[in-house]
Structures are given as C-alpha cells and as structure tokens.
Amino acid sequence: MSEKAFQRIYTKLTAITKATVTLEAQGVTNDELALVAGRLAQVVKIKDNAVTLQVFGGTEDIPTNAEVTFFGEPPSLNVSDDLAGRFFNAYGEPIDGGPAVEGEKRQIGGPSVNPYKRRQPSQLIPTGIAGIDLNNTLVSGQKIPFFADPDQPYNQVMSMVALRADVDKIILGGMGLTNDDYLFFKNQFESAGALNKIISFVNTTDQPPVERLLIPDMALTAAEYFAVDKNEKVLVLLTDMTLYADALSIVSNRMDQIPSKDSMPGSLYSDLAKIYEKAVQLPDGGSITIIAVTTLNDGDITHAIPDNTGYITEGQLFLRADPDSGKVIVDPFRSLSRLKQLVQNKKTREDHSAVMNTSVRLYADAANAKTKLENGFDLSDYDLRCLDYAKEYATRLLAIDVNIPIEEMLDTAWELFGKYFTKAETGLKEKLIEKYWKA
C-alpha cells in the first residue's frame, strides 16, 4: 500500500485498546483504511470528530503521538489472471518472493449477488470419499464446513477433496494456520502439480490475529474475479473459521460491545453469513463453492461459532474417530449436505438416496445395539448383525481413506445389506430390491 500525495496525517491518539485506537480527525469515511504507526488499520466507528480504527497488526508499542495516515478508501485487491499460482498475506501482498500483481483494483467485501440472478446449483462434485459422495453429496455453488476437533486431520481431508474436485481454481484462505500446516498445503499443491490453479491468502499463527479478518474477503474477491469475470468454477477453502470468529470477538470486545452467547459479538451470524453467502452458482456458468473448517471444542456443536455456522451453511461434514473400525470417519448422523437432493438420483444412480437413507438407518440401529451392549444387556440376533454391519460399513464406506466411484459405493452398500439383513428389514422399495439386491 503506497502513500499518495495530499494524505491527511494526524499525530494525536486519544485512546488505545489492544485492538483499536481512537483519534480526532476530519473528512474520514466509514470502512476506509489508514496506517497507524506503519500498521494497517480500518475505520470501524465515527462519532462526531472521534474516529475509531481497528489496527490489524495489534496495538502493541503504538504511542499516543503515532502518525496516522488515511487512505480515503476501503481495503482492496488487484485482480487479474496473474493471481494464479501466487501466495499472499492478509493484505494481498505477495509472500512468495514474486512481484506485486498488476490488475484492476477491487474493494474487498463487496456487494451481494442479487438472489434472483442466482441459478440453482446442480453440478456434482465427486470426492471419492463415500462418507461425502454417498451420504453427503457436494454440489458446486455450495458452502459447507468440516466440523472437527483440533486433533482430526481436517486440513488433510480438505486438501484431498480440493485436489480431487474438478474445478478451475482453488483459493486457499488460511487463518491462523500453523507454519507447518501452511507448508503442508504448499507442498500438497506443488506435488499435485496443481500450483498454477491455486491462489493462497495466508495468515499464520505467528502473525497478529486481527489480520485474519481480511483473509476471507481477500480470498472471495479473488474468487469473484474468476467466477464472475472469467466464468470459472472456483473452490474456496477457508481454514479455520473458528479462529476468524475469535478475531471478531476480540475487536468487538475492545469496542465495548455487549457480547451475546459464548462472548461472541451479537452480529456473528451476519458476519459469517456475509462470507459464506458468497458461494454461488452464476447464470453464465461460473461458480464459487466454499469448503471451510470450523474447529470444535470436544465435539460441542452448540457453541455459538459452529451453531451459527450450521444455520448459514448448506450442511456440515462432521469428522470423528470411530473406535470400532479404528478409522476417522465422516459421521453419518451429524453430517448433512443440504444440496444433495439436487444431484442424488438425478446425476447419480436412481437408488442413491434410498441406499443412503437405509444404510444410515441401519447404522443407527447398530448404535442402539451398542448402547444396549454397554448397559450390559443381551443382544438379539438382529442387534448382533447390526453391529457387524456397522463395523464393515464404517471401514468400507465411512472412512475418509476410501477413494472409489459412486457406483461402487452403492454396490458396496447393497452387498452389505444382502450380507447382514433380510429384504424386509431394509424397508426399501420393492422396485429397487428387485433390481439391485445382492444375495
């Protein structure tokens, strides 16, 4: 961000908190950027002549006589095809040693797509993972997070999904990534030979937390360039949105806002929605699909962050370790893809949704049987068969290391039905049983 002539410079701060500074200034516009002692800041409140700025780099060491320069415009990103293959920080500055990107300057966090101009998402995104493709099919234009405890391999699964997906661009928005994870992504993308279709905006744990607030908007501004201007299919990866929300709460807290549930700001829902709702299927073929990560605290989805996220996104993919099969699985009970019915049985085989529902229902029966077992009761023959089925179902279909086409997933499920259950126990439509039942 270079300085321009005739910039207004102030040198008297009237208040400083951990995330914000306040000063008397004139002619300042809402949302505009400024430099406070060389650090980027953004206007968040104006009252008469008192202007409050959130300082992205944190306020440590900022003196009351710090120099404040206003830019007169909100944060922006230069967009062009040259973005492809590059790594940037939260401000959109290259961190890969390459030159700055030339291109049209676009304000980040721009307006929403007119809902009437959207199209209904209808393209399947196959991942090879049955826990996703079979039970929670993804569709382009969808927004869906992984809900996972910090010890789950969510970044690995996400990069796997990204690299298998048939898309034109993959945009990574990394918030509070550890340096190791950042290098992991870089390495994965490089070794897949996919670097030229990847763009990364990264804030690592050693950088100030408030900076993270810029990452999703940067990533999505780049995504909109490729999806709207170039009609490309863009996949945006956002990890970890919990750390993003934490940064929001830091700022609102410093601004003395009354917190709502779990000390999150009252506007958390709207703040998250503004990001996730950028997922879109456009009329001219371009699309933005968002896959995010929301880390949980010991699987607690009632916390304000996953809770609000769940109401915004089109489902969630819930990862958990399954003790019976010894694998990490996509939990079929807590996971959901809300758009799956747009492709199931339409872009996939006619028995898809029926097979999905039945296999999950039987898995639920197994869970009941397990409870009985744990409570020390005798198990019926049906219970025992359910338990055997559950183990094989988890290993062969739910585990995240599965990589097979959807037809094969369906055939595997029919094979399991035939192996462990009678036709009546499955409750499937007779028409389907006649056609697909495997004795």
Partner: protein, 582 residues
C-alpha cells in the same frame, strides 16, 4: 418543507443524524453518499439527534453527509401484479434490477406501472363506502383481485363516479370518492400502507374454526393448524425446518402463499423460484408460482431490511386477506429477525435483556403474530392469514428468548427434534412435545367431526397416547433390557413404532408420499389404530420385533403407492393376510 440533517456518527449501519426540524419515530429518510441515496429508518430520537438504521452498507459514508427526511414510514405498495413477484425486504422487485450484484441505493418499483389490467366495477355511484370496501375487480392471473377503497381513508365516503369496465394502468383513476368533508378524492388501483401498522378494514376477528389441510400427516392428523391460526417450528439446524416449510408452501390448501425468507440462505430462495413455476398446485392444477409471493432478504443482505421483510410480507398478506383470500404466510426464520433487532439494540447501547436481545422482544413478537387471523369483512365475506414462523434456537436449546417469546404468541408448536433427525425420521417433528391448541377449541372439534368423522379428535388423542406409552416402554426396555421387561412392553413399543413409521414419518421428496390428502390420512390412521387395538401373543420379543417390522414394511409400501390403486390394494391384502395368520 422537508426536514433535513447531517451525519454526525457512524457505527456499522447505525447512523446518527443532527436534524433541523421535526422527525417522527420510524420515519424514512435518505442519506446522500456522493449522489447515491440510501434509505434509512429513524429508530430513536434524542434532542436534535436522530438515530437511523440504514438499509444498505454504510461504507464510504462520512460526517457531514446530507440527509433528507421523507415524512412517511416504510410503506408497502399494494395493487395488482404482486403475485409471482420476488421482492427484497423493502419490496424492491429483484427481477427488474440490473446486473448480477445488488447495487447500493438501487430501488425498483414493486409493480409494473405500464401493464394494462381488465377492470370491472363493483361499487355503484352514490354508494356509501368505507376503507377496504371493494370498488372494482381486475383479473390478476386466476385471482379476482379486488380494488379497494384505500385502507388509509377514514370515515364513510360516497362513490361519485366509477370507471366503466375496460383496460387501465394501476396509476389510472378508477373512481372518484367524496369524503365526509365534501371533497373529491381520486382513487387508483394502487395504494400504500405503512408496513409496521396492522391493516384494519374488517368487522371482526372470530376464533379460528376451520382446519387448514397441509398434506403433512404429522401436522394434519396429530396437531392440525387452523385456517387463520398461528404456529411455529423451532429446531436446531439440520432438522428439516426448510424442507417442512417448503412442503407447506407447496401443499397447503391456501389461495395465496407468501414466503418471507428472512436472513436465510439464498440458495433456498433460488430453489423456490426455480422449482415453483414447474410444480403444480395440488388443489387447482395451476403453477405454484401463480399463487406465491417471495419476500427475500437473505442472510448476506443488509440486516436492517431483514426486520422490514417480515412486516412487508405481513402487509401484503393483509391486503389479500381484505379481498377475501385464504393466505398462508411463512417466515423463515423469525430468529434472524430477532437477531437484527439485537444488533441494533446493541449499537444503540440500550440495556440488554436476556442473551442481549432487546427487552421488548416478547411484545414485538406477540404483536406480529396477532396480525394473523381469520376475519369477517365489511361485506360479510371472510378472509384469513395463517402464519407459521420458524425459529432457529441457538445451540438447539429451546430455553432461549426467541423460542420462549414465540411460544407465548403462537398456538401450534411443531418442535423439531435432533434425536429424530439423527435417526433420519423425517419430518423430525417431535410427536410428544409438539401441540396444537386448536384441538382444544370446541369450534375445531365440531369442524373435524363434520369434515372427517364424528369423534376424530378422540382418535387423535388415542394416537398420541399410544405414542407416549411406546416411548415409556422403550425407556424401560433400555433400562431393564429386552428380557427384563414383560412382553407387553415390547408390544407397546412396537405399536408406537408402527405409528411413527407409517403416520409420522413421511418422505417429502417422494411424489406420492410427499403429500397425503386428509381422506388418505384418515384411512391410514384407521388402519394403524386397528392394528394397535389388537392384542397379540408372541413367544418372545424377537418374534414381536420381526412381526411388526413386517407390518411396517407393508404399510410403508402402501404410503409409496397411489391411493386406492391396484398396487395399494395388493399391499392392503398382504397386510390383512399377515394379520390373519398371526
């Protein structure tokens, strides 16, 4: 002279304005940002400072920017052409907006002012008329759209002249009325009404006495909603709120459906306007879109307009109700509206109530629900608004302010259960916790007696009893083990499972099972209760389980078959055989 002002403070979309004249609470003003006029609403006045909530992003706004007050509140434009439209929360027509992105300060007219409508007069010259009386009629598609004396006219007017039958634009004068002071007033086919004020224009609002059929068994059979009644659907995310609402919008026996997508996902609205034009109204055979109005203020659209959207939707509903229409209003989700109130209250630095919500939340919600209802119009006809709102309780916990406040206001409670959703038992409406107060109304009991059969409500009560008993039995089995309880417990449990699988569960995505007419619901309930009335003799619980699973399977196949078809009867006979050789 209009009051003007200057911006003196900005926090997100709350702007403080210093004013030079009188301003009214809820008055609309426009803020000028380099020539772009952004709409805002006064929400608080203190001295010469007015706090306004801006319906747009305030990016780029600065101290000193000019504001012009309009002297009116947020209004809805009413007239022919509302049906099949897609509006935002401020009633801008989304279809006529240019570009892929929503532009700040771009407001479009809700109605087409060039379109010609076939007008037929109803009122006669010399006739005395009061507000909401029908002056004439145009055909809005299939709907006889009444042109009414504007709701805002007070007192009794006399029709001085009325336009002859012919083609008119909505802005043409179709009648001249003489007001009580002897002045002549021109009336066109369009009028405006402030959305936050309830439309009157009816004689009385009796207690609801009819049931509105929805085709959803767990509602119609177990906890029916009355025409003109109110209900709400709380539930954690992923429990099927949206699917249930869409089923209601598609199937309910109403003339007009108004859907307010309030702070929810844009793709859900896209689904409606992609699919509804293709789908047929099961009652009339016309395209569903012809009876639908969408008010769409999705979660990424400006927060303040979210609040406006539910009021806009209600006002449009009241307009059609005054024409004698049966309106179903669906709002998804009222929690987002409450959150919008919270965000503003927070920025105004008001003392917060529970969970940071404004202290008058409960009053605001009750007031809103009270605008629904069945009404008798001035001319003896009737109209109704049935209102069903969804609630998205934080963390799925129903002990939160929005759910609690709504529970006081709404008469039907359709609680979605996480447990049922996890087991994929959809719709996940909890059969034990949910209720319909209307089942206690003598009017409704009488109505059901004549509409379905005498003593129907007793059957419903019995069904609920069997479900509850089954739940208790299930808990006992879980505590004591399969062998630790008497055989009768298993039987009780499986009888409740039979009701669950055959009556409660319904496949919303299946062409046949998705919508179940009342007659069919009665048939299936009688069938299932008939089985529940039998007592069985099983040697062991596994035999009981297998037997009932068999029955459930056959009944489900019936649900998937065309009613009374050959296939349906085949399964029915199979079931009878099964029951005979038990």
């Amino acid at each position: 002279m209009k009051t003007t002002g200057k911006v003196t403070g900005i926090i997100a979309n709350l702007v403080t304005v210093e004013v030079d004249g009188p301003v009214a609470q809820n008055e609309i003003c426009f803020i000028d940002l380099n020539g772009v006029k952004m709409m805002a609403e006064v929400i608080k006045v203190n001295g010469n400072k007015a706090s306004v909530q801006v319906f747009e992003s305030t990016r780029g706004l600065q101290i000193g920017d000019k504001v012009e007050f309009q002297g009116y509140m947020l209004e809805a434009t009413l007239g022919p052409g509302l049906l099949s439209s897609n509006f935002d929360g401020l009633q801008n027509n989304l279809a006529t907006m240019e570009g892929v992105f929503l532009k700040r300060g771009e407001y479009t007219k809700p109605l087409d002012e060039d379109k010609l409508w076939d007008f037929t007069p109803i009122a006669k010259v010399g006739q005395q008329v009061i507000a909401a009386d029908w002056l004439g009629e145009v055909k809005e598609g299939w709907l006889p759209h009444k042109i009414m004396m504007p709701f805002s006219f007070n007192g009794s007017y006399v029709v001085k002249s009325i336009a002859p039958a012919g083609q008119y634009k909505i802005t043409d004068t179709i009648a001249v009325l003489t007001n009580p002071d002897g002045e002549d007033v021109n009336v066109t086919m369009t009028q405006k009404w402030p959305v936050k004020v309830a439309v009157g224009g009816y004689v009385e609002k009796p207690r609801p006495f009819k049931v509105m059929e929805t085709g959803v068994r767990t509602i119609d059979t177990l906890n029916p909603i009355a025409e003109g009644g109110t209900g709400f659907i709380p539930g954690p995310f992923g429990c099927g709120k949206t699917v249930l609402q869409h089923a209601l919008a598609e199937q309910a026996d109403a003339d007009i459906i108004i859907m307010a997508a309030c702070g929810e996902r844009a793709n859900e609205v896209v689904e409606i306007f992609t699919e509804f034009p293709e789908l047929k109204d099961k009652h009339t055979g016309r395209s569903l879109m012809e009876r639908t109005i969408i008010i769409c203020n999705t979660s990424n659209m400006p927060v303040a307009a979210r609040e406006a959207s539910v009021y806009t939707a209600m006002t449009l509903g009241e307009y059609y109700r005054a024409m004698g229409m049966k309106v179903l209003l669906l709002a998804d989700s009222t929690s987002r509206w409450a959150q919008a109130l919270r965000e503003m209250s927070n920025r105004l630095e008001e003392l917060p109530g529970q969970d940071g919500f404004p202290v008058d939340l409960s009053a605001i919600i009750s007031n809103f629900y009270a605008r629904a209802g069945y009404v008798k119009l001035n001319n003896g006809q009737s109209g109704s608004i049935t209102f069903i709102g969804t609630v998205s309780p934080a963390g799925g916990n129903l002990k939160e302010p929005v759910t609690e406040s709504t529970k006081k206001a709404a008469r039907c409670f359709y609680g979605l259960s996480q447990n049922r959703a996890d087991k994929k038992r959809y719709p996940a409406v909890d059969p034990v916790d949910s209720y319909s107060k209307y089942l206690e109304y003598p009017e409704i009991i009488e109505y059901l007696d004549s509409k379905i059969e005498k003593g129907w409500v007793d059957k419903v009560t019995k069904t609920k009893y069997i479900i509850r008993r089954g739940k208790d039995a299930y808990e006992q089995i879980n505590i004591l083990g399969d062998d630790g309880v008497p055989m009768s417990y298993h039987e009780q449990y499986w009888k409740s499972e039979l009701i669950d699988f055959v009556i409660l569960q319904q496949d919303a995505f299946d062409d046949i099972d998705g919508c179940s007419p009342l007659e069919r619901q009665k048939f299936m309930l009688d069938l299932v209760l008939g089985i529940c009335d039998r007592s069985f003799k099983f040697d062991n619980f596994e035999q009981c389980t297998t037997y009932f699973k068999g029955l459930i399977n056959i009944c489900r196949q019936m649900n998937y078959s065309e009613y009374q078809s050959e296939q349906f009867n085949k399964y029915l006979n199979q079931l009878k055989e099964e029951l005979n050789h038990e």
